[in-house]
Protein backbone atom coordinates (compact mmCIF):
# COMPACT_ATOMS: atom_id res chain seq x y z
CA UNK A 1 0.00 0.00 0.00
CA UNK A 2 1.33 3.39 -0.96
CA UNK A 3 1.61 6.11 1.64
CA UNK A 4 -0.71 9.00 0.93
CA UNK A 5 0.53 12.53 1.53
CA UNK A 6 -1.21 14.55 4.19
CA UNK A 7 -2.53 18.04 3.51
CA UNK A 8 -2.92 20.84 6.04
CA UNK A 9 -4.29 24.24 5.05
CA UNK A 10 -4.31 27.05 7.57
CA UNK A 11 -5.83 30.50 7.14
CA UNK A 12 -5.46 30.46 3.36
CA UNK A 13 -6.31 33.64 1.48
CA UNK A 14 -6.32 33.83 -2.30
CA UNK A 15 -7.10 36.42 -4.97
CA UNK A 16 -8.14 36.53 -8.62
CA UNK A 17 -6.72 39.84 -9.72
CA UNK A 18 -8.16 42.31 -7.22
CA UNK A 19 -10.99 40.16 -5.96
CA UNK A 20 -10.41 38.41 -2.68
CA UNK A 21 -11.83 34.89 -3.13
CA UNK A 22 -10.63 32.82 -0.17
CA UNK A 23 -10.97 34.40 3.28
CA UNK A 24 -8.93 32.22 5.59
CA UNK A 25 -9.64 28.61 4.64
CA UNK A 26 -8.53 26.03 7.20
CA UNK A 27 -8.85 22.32 6.58
CA UNK A 28 -6.91 19.08 7.04
CA UNK A 29 -6.77 15.85 5.14
CA UNK A 30 -4.91 13.02 6.87
CA UNK A 31 -2.72 10.65 4.90
CA UNK A 32 -4.90 8.09 3.15
CA UNK A 33 -8.12 9.92 3.93
CA UNK A 34 -10.78 10.94 1.40
CA UNK A 35 -12.41 14.29 2.06
CA UNK A 36 -14.81 16.38 0.01
CA UNK A 37 -15.43 20.07 -0.14
CA UNK A 38 -19.09 20.78 -0.80
CA UNK A 39 -20.83 24.09 -1.22
CA UNK A 40 -22.70 26.22 -3.68
CA UNK A 41 -21.29 27.58 -6.91
CA UNK A 42 -18.83 30.38 -6.33
CA UNK A 43 -18.09 29.35 -2.73
CA UNK A 44 -14.38 29.03 -3.53
CA UNK A 45 -14.00 25.24 -3.88
CA UNK A 46 -12.15 25.30 -7.19
CA UNK A 47 -10.05 28.22 -6.01
CA UNK A 48 -9.00 26.19 -2.98
CA UNK A 49 -7.73 23.37 -5.19
CA UNK A 50 -5.98 25.76 -7.54
CA UNK A 51 -4.34 27.52 -4.59
CA UNK A 52 -3.01 24.25 -3.24
CA UNK A 53 -1.47 23.59 -6.67
CA UNK A 54 0.16 27.02 -6.67
CA UNK A 55 -1.82 28.09 -9.73
CA UNK A 56 -2.96 31.39 -8.22
CA UNK A 57 -0.50 34.18 -8.09
CA UNK A 58 -1.67 36.02 -5.02
CA UNK A 59 -2.17 33.80 -2.02
CA UNK A 60 -1.04 33.76 1.61
CA UNK A 61 -1.50 31.67 4.71
CA UNK A 62 -0.15 28.16 4.95
CA UNK A 63 -0.44 25.06 2.77
CA UNK A 64 1.54 22.05 3.96
CA UNK A 65 1.87 18.90 1.89
CA UNK A 66 3.45 16.14 3.94
CA UNK A 67 6.06 18.09 5.87
CA UNK A 68 6.64 20.74 3.18
CA UNK A 69 5.31 24.30 3.19
CA UNK A 70 4.23 25.13 -0.38
CA UNK A 71 2.43 28.47 -0.05
CA UNK A 72 5.11 30.14 -2.19
CA UNK A 73 5.92 27.17 -4.43
CA UNK A 74 5.27 27.21 -8.20
CA UNK A 75 2.90 24.52 -9.58
CA UNK A 76 5.66 22.33 -11.00
CA UNK A 77 7.24 22.01 -7.55
CA UNK A 78 3.95 21.14 -5.90
CA UNK A 79 3.30 18.51 -8.57
CA UNK A 80 6.72 16.97 -8.06
CA UNK A 81 6.02 16.48 -4.37
CA UNK A 82 3.42 13.93 -5.45
CA UNK A 83 0.29 15.99 -5.96
CA UNK A 84 -2.02 15.20 -8.87
CA UNK A 85 -4.61 17.63 -10.18
CA UNK A 86 -7.74 16.79 -12.17
CA UNK A 87 -9.19 20.17 -13.13
CA UNK A 88 -12.86 20.99 -13.41
CA UNK A 89 -12.78 21.70 -17.12
CA UNK A 90 -10.82 18.41 -17.48
CA UNK A 91 -7.89 20.15 -19.13
CA UNK A 92 -7.55 17.82 -22.08
CA UNK A 93 -5.15 19.26 -24.67
CA UNK A 94 -6.52 19.66 -28.19
CA UNK A 95 -3.06 19.74 -29.76
CA UNK A 96 -2.08 16.45 -28.10
CA UNK A 97 -3.55 13.07 -28.99
CA UNK A 98 -4.86 10.73 -26.30
CA UNK A 99 -1.60 8.91 -25.68
CA UNK A 100 0.32 12.21 -25.56
CA UNK A 101 -2.20 13.58 -23.06
CA UNK A 102 -1.71 10.42 -21.03
CA UNK A 103 2.09 10.63 -21.08
CA UNK A 104 2.32 14.37 -20.42
CA UNK A 105 2.37 14.60 -16.59
CA UNK A 106 5.84 14.04 -15.25
CA UNK A 107 6.37 10.76 -13.42
CA UNK A 108 7.17 11.26 -9.76
CA UNK A 109 8.15 7.69 -8.95
CA UNK A 110 7.65 4.20 -10.32
CA UNK A 111 4.63 3.41 -8.16
CA UNK A 112 2.05 4.69 -10.64
CA UNK A 113 -0.04 2.51 -12.94
CA UNK A 114 1.30 1.38 -16.30
CA UNK A 115 -0.39 2.41 -19.53
CA UNK A 116 -1.66 -1.16 -19.94
CA UNK A 117 -3.25 -1.12 -16.49
CA UNK A 118 -4.86 2.21 -17.31
CA UNK A 119 -6.25 0.83 -20.57
CA UNK A 120 -7.70 -2.06 -18.57
CA UNK A 121 -9.34 0.42 -16.20
CA UNK A 122 -10.65 2.59 -19.06
CA UNK A 123 -10.89 0.40 -22.20
CA UNK A 124 -12.31 3.30 -24.26
CA UNK A 125 -8.98 5.08 -24.12
CA UNK A 126 -7.11 2.26 -25.85
CA UNK A 127 -9.35 2.51 -28.92
CA UNK A 128 -8.95 6.28 -29.08
CA UNK A 129 -5.19 6.41 -28.40
CA UNK A 130 -4.39 8.33 -31.59
CA UNK A 131 -7.35 10.71 -31.66
CA UNK A 132 -6.82 14.35 -30.70
CA UNK A 133 -7.67 14.73 -27.02
CA UNK A 134 -10.66 16.97 -27.51
CA UNK A 135 -12.34 14.63 -30.04
CA UNK A 136 -13.26 12.38 -27.12
CA UNK A 137 -16.71 12.48 -25.53
CA UNK A 138 -17.06 14.27 -22.21
CA UNK A 139 -16.96 10.98 -20.33
CA UNK A 140 -13.90 9.75 -22.18
CA UNK A 141 -12.16 13.08 -21.53
CA UNK A 142 -12.83 12.68 -17.82
CA UNK A 143 -11.45 9.13 -17.91
CA UNK A 144 -8.36 10.48 -19.63
CA UNK A 145 -7.99 13.27 -17.07
CA UNK A 146 -8.01 10.71 -14.27
CA UNK A 147 -5.93 8.06 -16.05
CA UNK A 148 -3.33 10.74 -16.79
CA UNK A 149 -2.60 11.37 -13.10
CA UNK A 150 -2.79 7.71 -12.05
CA UNK A 151 0.31 7.05 -14.14
CA UNK A 152 2.59 9.44 -12.29
CA UNK A 153 2.79 7.76 -8.89
CA UNK A 154 1.25 10.78 -7.14
CA UNK A 155 -0.25 10.12 -3.72
CA UNK A 156 -2.37 13.21 -3.06
CA UNK A 157 -5.20 13.67 -5.55
CA UNK A 158 -7.09 16.92 -6.00
CA UNK A 159 -10.23 16.17 -8.01
CA UNK A 160 -12.48 18.99 -9.17
CA UNK A 161 -16.01 17.80 -9.99
CA UNK A 162 -15.02 14.60 -11.76
CA UNK A 163 -18.66 13.57 -12.36
CA UNK A 164 -20.00 16.89 -13.62
CA UNK A 165 -22.28 16.48 -16.62
CA UNK A 166 -21.60 12.76 -17.07
CA UNK A 167 -24.03 9.90 -17.70
CA UNK A 168 -24.64 7.54 -14.73
CA UNK A 169 -22.72 4.63 -16.32
CA UNK A 170 -19.65 6.83 -16.69
CA UNK A 171 -20.05 8.19 -13.18
CA UNK A 172 -19.84 4.59 -11.97
CA UNK A 173 -16.65 4.00 -13.91
CA UNK A 174 -15.09 7.19 -12.53
CA UNK A 175 -16.28 6.15 -9.04
CA UNK A 176 -14.49 2.83 -9.38
CA UNK A 177 -11.26 4.61 -10.30
CA UNK A 178 -11.52 6.90 -7.29
CA UNK A 179 -12.28 3.97 -4.99
CA UNK A 180 -9.19 2.30 -6.38
CA UNK A 181 -7.13 5.38 -5.44
CA UNK A 182 -8.53 5.13 -1.94
CA UNK A 183 -7.81 1.42 -1.59
CA UNK A 184 -4.24 2.11 -2.66
CA UNK A 185 -3.92 4.36 0.37
CA UNK A 186 -3.81 7.63 -1.53
CA UNK A 187 -5.10 10.85 -0.05
CA UNK A 188 -8.04 12.42 -1.86
CA UNK A 189 -9.49 15.91 -1.74
CA UNK A 190 -12.62 15.96 -3.85
CA UNK A 191 -14.78 18.88 -4.89
CA UNK A 192 -18.18 17.50 -5.77
CA UNK A 193 -21.68 18.78 -6.45
CA UNK A 194 -23.14 15.27 -6.68
CA UNK A 195 -23.62 14.67 -2.98
CA UNK A 196 -24.64 11.02 -3.36
CA UNK A 197 -21.39 10.39 -5.14
CA UNK A 198 -19.46 12.33 -2.51
CA UNK A 199 -20.93 10.36 0.41
CA UNK A 200 -20.01 7.09 -1.29
CA UNK A 201 -16.34 8.05 -1.41
CA UNK A 202 -15.58 10.42 1.43
CA UNK A 203 -14.76 9.99 5.11
CA UNK A 204 -15.60 13.61 5.91
CA UNK A 205 -17.18 16.60 4.24
CA UNK A 206 -16.13 20.20 4.57
CA UNK A 207 -18.83 22.74 3.83
CA UNK A 208 -17.65 25.91 2.15
CA UNK A 209 -19.43 29.24 1.85
CA UNK A 210 -18.16 32.61 0.60
CA UNK A 211 -14.52 31.63 0.74
CA UNK A 212 -14.58 30.05 4.21
CA UNK A 213 -15.06 26.58 5.68
CA UNK A 214 -18.21 26.86 7.80
CA UNK A 215 -18.75 23.30 8.92
CA UNK A 216 -17.33 19.78 8.88
CA UNK A 217 -19.51 16.71 8.77
CA UNK A 218 -18.03 13.24 9.35
CA UNK A 219 -19.52 10.36 7.36
CA UNK A 220 -21.33 8.95 10.43
CA UNK A 221 -23.31 12.18 10.90
CA UNK A 222 -24.38 12.65 7.30
CA UNK A 223 -27.71 10.84 7.74
CA UNK A 224 -28.67 12.74 10.90
CA UNK A 225 -27.71 16.11 9.57
CA UNK A 226 -29.16 15.78 6.09
CA UNK A 227 -31.62 18.65 6.55
CA UNK A 228 -28.84 21.00 7.57
CA UNK A 229 -26.68 19.79 4.67
CA UNK A 230 -29.45 20.46 2.18
CA UNK A 231 -29.73 23.98 3.53
CA UNK A 232 -25.98 24.49 3.10
CA UNK A 233 -26.13 23.29 -0.48
CA UNK A 234 -29.31 25.18 -1.26
CA UNK A 235 -31.04 22.05 -2.54
Amino acid sequence: MADGLSLAIKDLHAFYGDSHVLHGVTLDVAAGEAVTIVGRNGAGKTTTLRSIMGMLERRFGSVRIGDQEVIAAPPERVARLGVAFVPEERGIYATLNVIENLMLPRKINERGMSVDELYKLFPNLRERANSPGTRLSGGEQQMLAIARVLRTGASLFLLDEPTEGLAPVIVQQIGRAIELMKREGHTILLVEQNFRFATRIADRHYVMERGRIIDMIPRAEVANRSVQLQQYLGI
Binding site: P75, P87, L96, M103, P105, R106
Partner: protein
Amino acid sequence: MSSQVLFGQLLVGLINGAFYALLSLGFAIIFGLLGIINVAQGTFYMIGAFGAWMMLNYAGIGYWPALVLSPLMTGIVGMALEKTLISRMYRLDHIYGLLLTYGLMMFIMGTFIFFYATAGHAYPVPDELQGGYNLGFMFLPKYRAWAVLVSIIICISTWYVIEKTSVGRNLRAATENPMLTRAFGINVPALLTFGFGVGVALAGLAGVLAAPIYTVGPLMGGELVIVVFAIVVVGGMQSILGAIVTGLSLGVLEGLTKTIYPKGANMVIFVVMFIVLLIKPAGLFGQEK
Protein backbone atom coordinates in the same frame (compact mmCIF):
# COMPACT_ATOMS: atom_id res chain seq x y z
CA MET B 1 13.62 35.33 -71.60
CA SER B 2 16.20 32.56 -71.40
CA SER B 3 15.74 29.53 -69.18
CA GLN B 4 19.03 30.49 -67.52
CA VAL B 5 17.49 33.71 -66.24
CA LEU B 6 14.23 32.07 -65.19
CA PHE B 7 15.87 29.22 -63.29
CA GLY B 8 18.48 31.55 -61.88
CA GLN B 9 15.76 33.72 -60.37
CA LEU B 10 13.86 30.65 -59.18
CA LEU B 11 17.00 29.49 -57.39
CA VAL B 12 17.42 32.89 -55.74
CA GLY B 13 13.77 32.66 -54.76
CA LEU B 14 14.28 29.19 -53.35
CA ILE B 15 17.29 30.35 -51.32
CA ASN B 16 15.43 33.35 -49.95
CA GLY B 17 12.46 31.08 -49.33
CA ALA B 18 14.66 28.69 -47.35
CA PHE B 19 15.88 31.59 -45.18
CA TYR B 20 12.34 32.92 -44.85
CA ALA B 21 11.25 29.45 -43.74
CA LEU B 22 13.94 29.22 -41.04
CA LEU B 23 13.20 32.70 -39.71
CA SER B 24 9.43 32.27 -39.86
CA LEU B 25 9.62 28.88 -38.19
CA GLY B 26 11.55 30.46 -35.31
CA PHE B 27 9.10 33.36 -35.24
CA ALA B 28 6.10 30.99 -35.10
CA ILE B 29 7.62 28.90 -32.29
CA ILE B 30 8.31 32.03 -30.25
CA PHE B 31 4.89 33.54 -30.86
CA GLY B 32 3.05 30.29 -30.16
CA LEU B 33 4.92 29.49 -26.99
CA LEU B 34 5.68 32.90 -25.49
CA GLY B 35 3.05 35.10 -27.12
CA ILE B 36 5.89 37.43 -28.08
CA ILE B 37 5.93 39.03 -31.52
CA ASN B 38 9.67 38.92 -32.00
CA VAL B 39 10.46 41.86 -34.25
CA ALA B 40 14.15 41.24 -33.57
CA GLN B 41 14.09 37.93 -35.50
CA GLY B 42 16.01 39.57 -38.38
CA THR B 43 18.55 40.88 -35.89
CA PHE B 44 19.32 37.37 -34.70
CA TYR B 45 19.83 36.42 -38.35
CA MET B 46 22.38 39.24 -38.52
CA ILE B 47 23.98 38.10 -35.25
CA GLY B 48 24.31 34.58 -36.66
CA ALA B 49 26.02 35.87 -39.80
CA PHE B 50 28.22 38.32 -37.91
CA GLY B 51 29.12 35.60 -35.40
CA ALA B 52 30.49 33.45 -38.21
CA TRP B 53 32.38 36.41 -39.69
CA MET B 54 33.90 37.33 -36.29
CA MET B 55 34.90 33.74 -35.58
CA LEU B 56 36.72 33.62 -38.92
CA ASN B 57 38.42 37.02 -38.63
CA TYR B 58 39.26 37.13 -34.94
CA ALA B 59 39.77 33.47 -34.06
CA GLY B 60 40.42 31.76 -37.38
CA ILE B 61 37.42 29.50 -36.85
CA GLY B 62 36.19 28.38 -40.25
CA TYR B 63 32.78 27.86 -41.81
CA TRP B 64 32.08 24.31 -40.61
CA PRO B 65 32.57 24.87 -36.87
CA ALA B 66 30.85 28.26 -37.20
CA LEU B 67 27.82 26.59 -38.77
CA VAL B 68 27.22 24.95 -35.39
CA LEU B 69 28.83 27.45 -33.00
CA SER B 70 27.29 30.65 -34.30
CA PRO B 71 23.61 29.50 -34.10
CA LEU B 72 24.41 28.02 -30.69
CA MET B 73 25.83 31.35 -29.55
CA THR B 74 22.83 33.18 -31.02
CA GLY B 75 20.57 30.85 -29.05
CA ILE B 76 22.48 31.53 -25.83
CA VAL B 77 22.25 35.30 -26.37
CA GLY B 78 18.51 34.80 -26.95
CA MET B 79 18.09 32.76 -23.77
CA ALA B 80 19.91 35.39 -21.73
CA LEU B 81 17.61 38.09 -23.16
CA GLU B 82 14.54 35.95 -22.44
CA LYS B 83 15.61 35.42 -18.84
CA THR B 84 16.41 39.06 -18.15
CA LEU B 85 13.99 41.08 -20.29
CA ILE B 86 11.44 39.20 -22.38
CA SER B 87 10.08 37.08 -19.52
CA ARG B 88 8.82 40.30 -17.92
CA MET B 89 6.38 40.80 -20.80
CA TYR B 90 4.34 37.60 -20.49
CA ARG B 91 1.62 39.03 -18.32
CA LEU B 92 1.21 42.09 -20.50
CA ASP B 93 -0.46 42.67 -23.83
CA HIS B 94 1.32 41.47 -27.02
CA ILE B 95 2.14 45.05 -27.93
CA TYR B 96 4.67 45.33 -25.06
CA GLY B 97 6.63 42.33 -26.29
CA LEU B 98 6.60 43.82 -29.76
CA LEU B 99 7.88 47.17 -28.49
CA LEU B 100 10.56 45.53 -26.35
CA THR B 101 11.90 43.39 -29.19
CA TYR B 102 11.75 46.42 -31.48
CA GLY B 103 13.89 48.31 -28.97
CA LEU B 104 16.27 45.39 -28.73
CA MET B 105 16.56 45.32 -32.51
CA MET B 106 17.41 49.04 -32.67
CA PHE B 107 19.89 48.71 -29.82
CA ILE B 108 21.71 45.68 -31.21
CA MET B 109 21.77 47.05 -34.73
CA GLY B 110 23.00 50.42 -33.46
CA THR B 111 25.76 48.77 -31.47
CA PHE B 112 26.98 46.86 -34.51
CA ILE B 113 26.85 50.00 -36.65
CA PHE B 114 28.87 51.84 -34.00
CA PHE B 115 31.68 49.29 -34.16
CA TYR B 116 31.52 48.12 -37.77
CA ALA B 117 29.77 50.90 -39.72
CA THR B 118 27.09 49.93 -42.21
CA ALA B 119 29.29 48.57 -45.00
CA GLY B 120 29.07 44.84 -45.70
CA HIS B 121 31.92 42.37 -45.25
CA ALA B 122 32.52 39.47 -47.59
CA TYR B 123 32.51 35.96 -46.19
CA PRO B 124 34.20 33.31 -48.35
CA VAL B 125 32.41 30.24 -49.62
CA PRO B 126 34.07 27.21 -47.97
CA ASP B 127 36.52 25.36 -50.26
CA GLU B 128 34.48 22.16 -50.23
CA LEU B 129 31.51 23.98 -51.72
CA GLN B 130 33.26 26.04 -54.40
CA GLY B 131 32.09 25.74 -57.96
CA GLY B 132 28.87 24.23 -59.15
CA TYR B 133 27.00 21.90 -61.43
CA ASN B 134 25.99 22.59 -64.99
CA LEU B 135 22.52 21.19 -65.21
CA GLY B 136 22.14 22.11 -68.89
CA PHE B 137 19.25 24.48 -68.39
CA MET B 138 21.10 26.39 -65.66
CA PHE B 139 24.27 26.60 -63.58
CA LEU B 140 23.76 25.52 -59.97
CA PRO B 141 26.42 26.80 -57.53
CA LYS B 142 27.21 24.08 -54.97
CA TYR B 143 27.00 26.40 -52.02
CA ARG B 144 23.51 27.59 -52.90
CA ALA B 145 22.25 24.03 -53.27
CA TRP B 146 23.81 23.28 -49.87
CA ALA B 147 22.15 26.27 -48.19
CA VAL B 148 18.72 25.26 -49.47
CA LEU B 149 19.25 21.63 -48.51
CA VAL B 150 20.40 22.42 -44.95
CA SER B 151 17.50 24.82 -44.40
CA ILE B 152 14.93 22.30 -45.54
CA ILE B 153 16.47 19.49 -43.47
CA ILE B 154 16.54 21.67 -40.35
CA CYS B 155 12.96 22.84 -40.92
CA ILE B 156 11.68 19.28 -41.32
CA SER B 157 13.67 18.07 -38.28
CA THR B 158 12.28 20.92 -36.18
CA TRP B 159 8.77 20.09 -37.32
CA TYR B 160 9.38 16.42 -36.45
CA VAL B 161 10.71 17.22 -32.97
CA ILE B 162 7.71 19.43 -32.22
CA GLU B 163 5.07 17.03 -33.58
CA LYS B 164 6.48 13.63 -32.71
CA THR B 165 8.73 13.71 -29.64
CA SER B 166 8.19 14.14 -25.91
CA VAL B 167 9.99 17.50 -25.92
CA GLY B 168 7.62 18.66 -28.63
CA ARG B 169 4.65 17.27 -26.71
CA ASN B 170 5.65 19.34 -23.68
CA LEU B 171 6.17 22.41 -25.87
CA ARG B 172 2.72 22.00 -27.44
CA ALA B 173 1.12 21.49 -24.03
CA ALA B 174 2.86 24.60 -22.68
CA THR B 175 1.67 26.54 -25.72
CA GLU B 176 -1.93 25.46 -25.25
CA ASN B 177 -2.30 25.72 -21.47
CA PRO B 178 0.84 26.88 -19.65
CA MET B 179 -0.55 26.93 -16.11
CA LEU B 180 -2.08 23.46 -16.24
CA THR B 181 1.09 22.11 -17.82
CA ARG B 182 3.04 23.42 -14.84
CA ALA B 183 0.56 21.64 -12.54
CA PHE B 184 1.64 18.41 -14.27
CA GLY B 185 5.18 18.92 -13.02
CA ILE B 186 6.63 20.45 -16.18
CA ASN B 187 8.91 23.41 -15.73
CA VAL B 188 7.22 25.71 -18.23
CA PRO B 189 9.34 28.83 -17.51
CA ALA B 190 12.47 26.84 -18.41
CA LEU B 191 10.70 25.54 -21.50
CA LEU B 192 9.91 29.12 -22.58
CA THR B 193 13.57 30.11 -22.23
CA PHE B 194 14.57 27.07 -24.27
CA GLY B 195 11.88 27.79 -26.89
CA PHE B 196 13.07 31.37 -27.35
CA GLY B 197 16.64 30.10 -27.67
CA VAL B 198 15.65 27.61 -30.37
CA GLY B 199 13.54 30.20 -32.20
CA VAL B 200 16.37 32.71 -32.50
CA ALA B 201 19.01 30.02 -33.12
CA LEU B 202 17.06 29.10 -36.28
CA ALA B 203 17.42 32.72 -37.40
CA GLY B 204 21.11 32.56 -36.46
CA LEU B 205 21.55 29.45 -38.60
CA ALA B 206 19.92 31.20 -41.56
CA GLY B 207 22.42 34.01 -40.97
CA VAL B 208 25.44 31.70 -41.16
CA LEU B 209 24.05 30.01 -44.27
CA ALA B 210 23.48 33.45 -45.83
CA ALA B 211 26.94 34.84 -44.96
CA PRO B 212 28.75 33.49 -48.06
CA ILE B 213 25.85 34.47 -50.35
CA TYR B 214 25.12 38.01 -49.18
CA THR B 215 27.56 40.37 -47.51
CA VAL B 216 27.70 40.41 -43.73
CA GLY B 217 26.71 43.74 -42.22
CA PRO B 218 24.66 45.31 -39.44
CA LEU B 219 21.79 46.15 -41.78
CA MET B 220 21.19 42.63 -43.08
CA GLY B 221 17.98 41.21 -41.73
CA GLY B 222 16.52 44.65 -41.10
CA GLU B 223 13.90 44.54 -43.79
CA LEU B 224 13.66 40.75 -43.60
CA VAL B 225 11.48 40.82 -40.52
CA ILE B 226 8.68 42.58 -42.39
CA VAL B 227 8.64 39.77 -44.94
CA VAL B 228 8.82 37.16 -42.18
CA PHE B 229 5.88 38.79 -40.48
CA ALA B 230 3.85 38.64 -43.69
CA ILE B 231 4.79 34.97 -44.18
CA VAL B 232 3.74 34.03 -40.68
CA VAL B 233 0.43 35.84 -41.14
CA VAL B 234 -0.15 33.96 -44.42
CA GLY B 235 0.85 30.64 -42.90
CA GLY B 236 -1.11 31.10 -39.66
CA MET B 237 0.48 32.79 -36.66
CA GLN B 238 1.30 29.68 -34.62
CA SER B 239 1.51 27.10 -37.35
CA ILE B 240 4.87 25.36 -37.59
CA LEU B 241 4.07 23.65 -40.86
CA GLY B 242 2.50 26.88 -42.17
CA ALA B 243 5.71 28.84 -41.54
CA ILE B 244 7.84 26.29 -43.40
CA VAL B 245 5.60 25.74 -46.42
CA THR B 246 4.66 29.41 -46.77
CA GLY B 247 8.27 30.59 -46.32
CA LEU B 248 9.55 28.38 -49.11
CA SER B 249 6.68 28.93 -51.51
CA LEU B 250 6.53 32.71 -51.10
CA GLY B 251 10.29 32.88 -51.63
CA VAL B 252 9.85 31.03 -54.91
CA LEU B 253 6.88 33.18 -55.86
CA GLU B 254 8.97 36.28 -55.22
CA GLY B 255 11.76 34.91 -57.44
CA LEU B 256 9.26 34.09 -60.17
CA THR B 257 7.77 37.58 -60.02
CA LYS B 258 11.27 39.03 -60.47
CA THR B 259 11.53 37.41 -63.89
CA ILE B 260 8.01 38.10 -65.03
CA TYR B 261 7.36 41.54 -63.55
CA PRO B 262 10.43 42.79 -61.67
CA LYS B 263 8.73 45.89 -60.28
CA GLY B 264 6.19 43.71 -58.48
CA ALA B 265 8.73 41.46 -56.75
CA ASN B 266 8.95 43.45 -53.53
CA MET B 267 5.20 43.63 -53.36
CA VAL B 268 3.99 40.17 -54.24
CA ILE B 269 4.30 38.66 -50.76
CA PHE B 270 2.21 41.46 -49.31
CA VAL B 271 -0.40 41.09 -52.03
CA VAL B 272 -0.69 37.42 -51.07
CA MET B 273 -0.95 38.41 -47.42
CA PHE B 274 -3.72 40.85 -48.27
CA ILE B 275 -5.69 38.22 -50.20
CA VAL B 276 -5.23 35.55 -47.51
CA LEU B 277 -6.33 37.92 -44.77
CA LEU B 278 -9.50 38.65 -46.73
CA ILE B 279 -10.35 35.02 -47.44
CA LYS B 280 -8.91 33.11 -44.47
CA PRO B 281 -7.96 35.53 -41.67
CA ALA B 282 -6.43 32.79 -39.49
CA GLY B 283 -3.91 32.00 -42.24
CA LEU B 284 -3.62 29.08 -44.65
CA PHE B 285 -2.60 26.59 -41.95
CA GLY B 286 -4.12 28.41 -38.97
CA GLN B 287 -6.98 27.20 -36.82
CA GLU B 288 -10.06 29.40 -36.86
CA LYS B 289 -10.93 30.41 -33.36
